[in-house]
């Protein structure tokens, strides 16, 4: 997350470094190179700014690296002045020269900080703009994806790609990218500076490098292993917690609380053990690094002392060299860390790109136009299946304008499929659907859907005012139209009893109004949209009788003068329907009017007789 950042210590100034950020073993992207390249393409429009960032980063780092050397010059000057004064061979410290050197040093530091600021300042727009573009691309992709994509995976997963993964990319761009550059520049710069001071001392410093790598490497490996263990235990524990909490009633009913706690304790103990180890091992690294640093410090002092006595090197250079050798290890650690971060970032980018590469909805043809349908609906030899197997085979339906079609059958056995096909959320495998004699595939989806209204059991309202939610049905609806629709849906009264009336803002879960009221709002929305064809679900859940009557009335009102497909739950609706579709397992197995179907003496008749007629007769 973009706010999860902390100012990261950059090498400089000779202070002891921050804690070594422990890198988790990052997830590996499948195709690093291609994804990385594609990610770079997102940076392309900001090329110039990015170059400016790089230049600023390099300048800032270079100035910072030169610092100790100049400081060394000042100290040498001081030392020699003092020394000469002491031995009586000079006039003492030349404050003029020192002043000049220090002015130069101060200037360097000011510029270094300035460039550092410029770099971060520009980078914040570069990073955020890139993330903006990426999100925008995802948003645009959303409307092009077929419904199949959304139905076939959990919302959480899609959401995670859109938010977490993109956030990861953002914070890496913001921090790690420039850090990588400065680390490399620092490393190279330090080596150069050290070499210019004394190749011999550099050699000694380099000897300590493999030493530290030798010591740190195995620890780092173990630490990564422990962190992985910790992550695993944490996952297990969280899984257990989730399971026990969601199954709380069952756990209680069977008296399993103690066992649940015992099991929890076991995993919790594992987590403690793994976490303790991981933390401990990662805590070892810093002191060891310091120790090794001090070791090379002593050696450098000894060798430096010899060199100074031979007048081969100045005292200030030794000070500078020590500062450099201390900063030496940090960029190496950092680069290793960042390599890990970049890897997991590319993995995140890969997931986002996967989404962007998903197959899009079939291109629509706009050969035909349908302004406002009369409402004739024909299914002709329709074949359809979600996967390989056909769910519907050779289905034929004829619905005349204004007719009511009742859909009867087990819940979940076809209503979604029917909606999916009618509104062309899914493509047919064979046959065709015609509205007013026009093939639905020859018109734009927008035009087709304009002719449909939909009131389902699971109401969908969004976080906004009631007015906006009703107005969703029609672009640019006037206040009068909205109120009239609400009135027709028997919703006007309850809306007016709310403290803010039509301006009441529905909260996230829309839990500030009841389920039945939500349903009334969706009906009002459909009334406002005024489509010639309606799809309705009669089922009402958790609704009191009064509201239920309202909903029923509103639905009847909605069906007037329209072709209606009703997922029927009431005998009266079924009996009065012009056509009954008996569905089972996704397919329409019988169709006809109530009387026709009874005469047919098939599935419907069985259903009706065995479940109703007989018992009613008793």
């Amino acid at each position: 997350m973009s706010n999860g950042k902390r100012p990261q210590g950059r090498p400089g100034g000779g202070h002891p470094g921050g804690p070594p950020g422990m890198s988790m073993p990052g997830e590996k992207p499948k195709n690093f190179k291609a994804t990385f390249k594609r990610l770079l393409r997102y940076l392309k429009p900001r090329q110039n700014r990015l170059i400016a960032v790089f230049i600023a980063a390099i300048l800032s780092t270079v100035f910072m690296i030169v610092g100790p050397k100049i400081m060394g010059m000042a100290i040498t000057e001081l030392f020699e002045g003092a020394y000469n004064k002491l031995t009586g061979t000079g006039t003492g410290i030349d404050f003029g020269t020192i002043g000049q050197i220090l002015m130069l040093l101060a200037g360097l530091y000011v510029f270094s900080s300035l460039f550092n600021y410029i770099q971060q300042y520009i980078m914040s727009t570069v990073a955020q703009d890139t993330v903006y573009d990426l999100r925008q691309d995802v948003n645009k992709k959303l409307e092009k994806l077929p419904l199949h994509y959304f139905d076939s995976r959990p919302n959480g997963e899609i959401l995670s790609r859109m938010t977490n993964d993109i956030d990861t990319i953002g914070s890496t761009l913001q921090q790690s990218l420039t850090q990588f550059i400065t680390s490399v520049v620092t490393l190279v710069g330090i080596i150069i500076m050290m070499l210019t001071i004394s190749p011999w001392l550099t050699l000694i410093a380099f000897v300590s490098l493999p030493l530290s790598l030798f010591v740190i490497q195995p620890i780092l490996k173990r630490s990564q292993k422990q962190f992985a263990n910790q992550q695993k235990s944490l996952g297990e524990l969280n899984g257990h917690i989730e399971e026990m909490y969601t199954g709380h009633s069952v756990v209680k009913a069977f008296g399993h609380e103690k066992k649940a706690v015992a099991q929890f304790d076991e995993v919790n103990e594992e987590l403690y053990e793994a976490g303790r180890r991981a933390q401990f091992i990662s805590g070892i690294i810093q002191p060891l690094m310091t120790l090794i640093g001090n070791f090379s410090y002593v050696v450098i002092s000894v060798v430096g002392g010899i060199l100074v006595t031979q007048r081969a090197i100045s005292i200030g250079d030794i000070q500078a060299f020590i500062t450099y050798s201390k900063q030496f290890a940090q960029p190496i650690m950092q680069t290793a860390n960042i390599a890990n971060i970049i890897q997991s970032t590319v993995a995140a980018a890969e997931r986002v790109f996967e989404l962007l590469d998903e197959e899009e909805e079939k291109k629509e043809s706009t050969a035909l136009h349908l302004e406002r349908a009369k409402g004739e609906v024909v299914f002709e030899n329709v074949d359809f299946g979600y996967g390989e197997d056909l769910l519907i085979e050779d289905m034929n339906i004829q619905v005349a304008p204004g007719q009511t079609v009742a859909i009867v059958g087990p819940t979940g056995a076809g209503k979604t499929t029917l909606i999916n096909l009618l509104m062309r959320f899914y493509e047919l495998n064979g046959g065709k659907i015609e509205i007013d004699g026009l093939d639905t595939r020859d018109m734009s989806r927008n035009e087709l859907r304009q002719n449909f209204g939909m009131v389902l059991q699971d109401t969908w309202l969004f976080n906004g005012t009631i007015r906006d939610n009703i107005a969703y049905g029609k672009n640019g609806a006037t206040e009068e139209e909205i109120v009239a629709a609400a009135d027709a849906a028997h919703a006007d009264h309850f809306i007016r009893t709310l403290p803010d009336g039509y301006d009441t803002v529905l909260n996230e879960e829309a839990s500030n109004i009841s389920q039945g009221q939500k349903q009334l709002l969706t009906i009002a929305r459909a009334i406002l949209a005024d489509p010639p064809i309606m799809i309705l679900d009669e089922a009402t859940s958790s609704v009191d009788t009064r509201t239920e009557i309202f909903i029923q009335k509103a639905m009847n009102r909605l069906m007037e003068g329209r072709t209606s497909f009703v997922i029927a739950h009431r005998l009266s609706t079924i009996k009065d329907a012009d056509l009954i579709l008996v569905m089972d397992k996704g397919n329409v197995i019988e169709q006809g009017t109530h009387t026709e179907l009874l005469e047919q003496d098939g599935f419907y008749a069985d259903l009706y007789n065995s479940q109703f007629a007989e018992k009613v007769a008793i």
Partner: protein
């Protein structure tokens, strides 16, 4: 936050050890620059190589001691921090396990999960940081100051001048930045909300042709987030450069003034170099301390959420001590009234009936009529407001909850299964069930066929939530789990809904023999499934609208007749 930190109490000796060790480590760190100064002043300057070796040896020794102290500190601090995390997690989890469904309703399951997992991890992280870095900050700060002043008091005026600048700058940046961070979070939530709405409502969005408007809404949320993110990052961009600048300029100042001191003979060159090191330590400690201001407010939010859970008392206590075995296989509701907390109207009122062994009692009614509520009262998931419920002739408030629940075989509406094998899941009902008992329960639940069809049979591992089984299979396992206990009272909360007609019929037949000595309570949606019941209770809006057999009710109960008439389309027949 402080309240949560009290959980460190059992580890106070560890924490004390950490403080002590870090103190030792800091002392070592503080001593090193002085030794370095000696090396330079007496060794390097004078060309005294043996002296360098000698002091160098001391340096190594001291820094080794420092390293050992640091490693030990890390040992104890990880023990303390992770130990506290473990204890806290345990405390919250076992506390939540005591909750009735009432508390679950109040906080929400999802929220309880985050509080037990993420929030505690967050706290743990902060405690690690506290123990590892923040403790050393004041020690280094005071130590560094003392050392610096002892080296040269006058030169310390430079530090006195620099410190407020550094602290002031950091605090100013944080003051500007932190509210913006909160704004970022808010807008991120907003973006997530709009995205989620778009995902859940995708059909509605497309049905109403609102793709363009939704895109604009998303774009606006995106733009808002981007803008504030850029703003916050621009402010945070000040942080590092300013910190570095103040530190570096302080050093420049010290060299200048130190030079004057050296010129006066008040200081030696090595001392100056040591002095610079001390200043760095001081400044760095200050930066560390400022980081506290970033970390603590965040952890405080988590701490508050955890405390809320811990402070929540279960709504009622488990105080009974009777044994529930007076009249086996009976269940009695005696004028029971129940209201959900805060509700204006009771969810159930004046429910009375008595069920005897071998009888089947069915409960029927519309959605929201109170069927599931009624059932949830029997295992005492909620406490009734008036009247009494008697299991085996004993008031459930006078026996322990465990005792009452051990008499019940409860099959919930949604078949909830757990990670583990199929056998484990059935054994959930009776931990010491023999294989024969398992198989018997499975066969009555009509689960034998599909279990033996699985490659590993009873040992087949279920994924979380049993997602590798079909709805009907899960339901049958949930039934077997209740059967294996051979309870005195069977409770089925619309538990056959995912079964096909044939299995349903077979199961009911097999159940009949099994439940001869027990009483069966059955919540049903469909009239057809309760025709055979000895007693049907018709619920409407929490009240009993009638009770009797199917025939009786059909004749004289309007509500029941209505339900029967309206149900044709919901029939599920294979």
């Amino acid at each position: 936050m402080l309240k949560i930190l009290k959980n460190l109490a059992p580890y106070k000796w560890f924490v004390a050890a950490v403080v002590l060790l870090i103190f030792g480590q800091s002392m070592a760190d503080l001593f090193l620059p002085t030794l370095m100064a000696d090396i330079i002043d007496n060794g390097v300057v004078k060309g005294n190589i043996p002296y360098i070796w000698e002091i160098g040896g001391w340096m190594l020794l001291i820094s080794a001691l420092g390293a050992v102290a640091a490693i030990c500190a890390s040992f104890y601090s990880s023990k303390a921090a992770m130990g506290m995390g473990r204890d806290l997690r345990r405390k919250v989890f076992s506390h939540v396990e005591k909750f009735s469904l009432q508390e679950f309703d109040e906080v929400g399951t999802a929220s309880l999960i985050t509080r037990t997992t993420n929030d505690i991890t967050q706290i743990q992280q902060v405690v690690i940081m506290l123990l590892r870095m923040v403790i050393s900050a004041p020690i280094m700060l005071t130590g560094g100051l003392i050392m610096a002043i002892s080296k040269d008091a006058k030169l310390s005026l430079v530090i006195v001048a620099a410190m407020p600048v550094l602290v002031g700058a950091i605090l100013l940046i944080l003051k500007k930045g932190v509210p913006l961070f909160q704004e970022v979070q808010k807008r991120l939530d907003r973006l997530n909300l709009v995205l989620r709405e778009n995902l859940t409502g995708i059909r509605v969005v497309r049905a109403f042709n609102r793709e363009t408007e939704e895109k604009a809404r998303l774009q606006k949320a995106n733009r808002d987030l981007t803008d504030v993110s850029i703003r916050v990052n621009k402010i945070m961009a000040f942080m590092m450069p300013i910190m570095m600048l103040v530190m570096n300029l302080t050093v420049v100042g010290i060299i200048w003034f130190g030079g004057i001191r050296i010129d006066n003979g008040g200081m030696q060159i090595g001392d100056l170099m040591a002095y610079i090191q001390y200043v760095m330590m001081i400044m760095f400690a200050l930066v560390m301390a400022s980081m506290m201001f970033m970390m603590v407010p965040r952890a405080a939010v988590s701490a508050k959420r955890i405390n809320e859970v811990l402070e929540m008392k279960p709504a009622f206590q488990d105080l009974g001590n009777k044994i529930a075995d007076r009249e086996r296989g009976t269940l009695e509701f005696d004028n029971v009234t129940f209201s959900y907390p805060g509700a204006e109207e009771p969810a159930l009122s004046n429910i009375s009936f008595k069920a005897k062994p071998g009888e089947i009692t069915a409960i029927i009614g519309g959605t929201g009529s109170g069927k599931s509520t009624l059932i949830n009262l029997i295992p005492r998931f909620y406490d009734i407001s008036e009247g009494a419920i008697r299991v085996n002739g004993v008031d459930i408030r006078q026996a322990t909850q465990d005792e009452v629940r051990s008499k019940l075989g409860f099959v919930p509406q949604k078949a909830i299964l757990f990670t583990g094998s199929i056998a484990d899941n059935i054994r959930f009902g009776k931990p010491d069930a023999t294989p024969a008992e398992l198989e018997h329960a499975a066969s009555i639940a009509q689960a034998t066929e599909f279990i033996s069809g699985l490659k590993e049979g009873y040992e087949t591992e279920l994924e979380q939530g049993g997602s590798n089984l079909s709805g009907g299979q899960k339901q049958r396992l949930a039934i077997a789990r209740a059967l294996v206990r051979k309870p005195d009272i069977y409770i089925f909360d619309d538990s056959f809904s995912a079964l096909d007609f044939k299995t349903d019929a077979k199961l009911r037949k097999a159940l009949k023999d099994e439940t001869k000595d027990a009483t069966v309570l059955l919540v049903a949606q469909r009239v057809s499934t309760v025709v055979d019941a000895d007693r049907i209770i018709v619920l409407e809006k929490g009240r009993m609208a009638g009770m009797g057999t199917h025939e009786e009710l059909m004749k004289n109960n309007e509500v029941y007749r209505e339900i029967a008439y309206s149900q044709l389309s919901e029939e599920e027949i294979a």
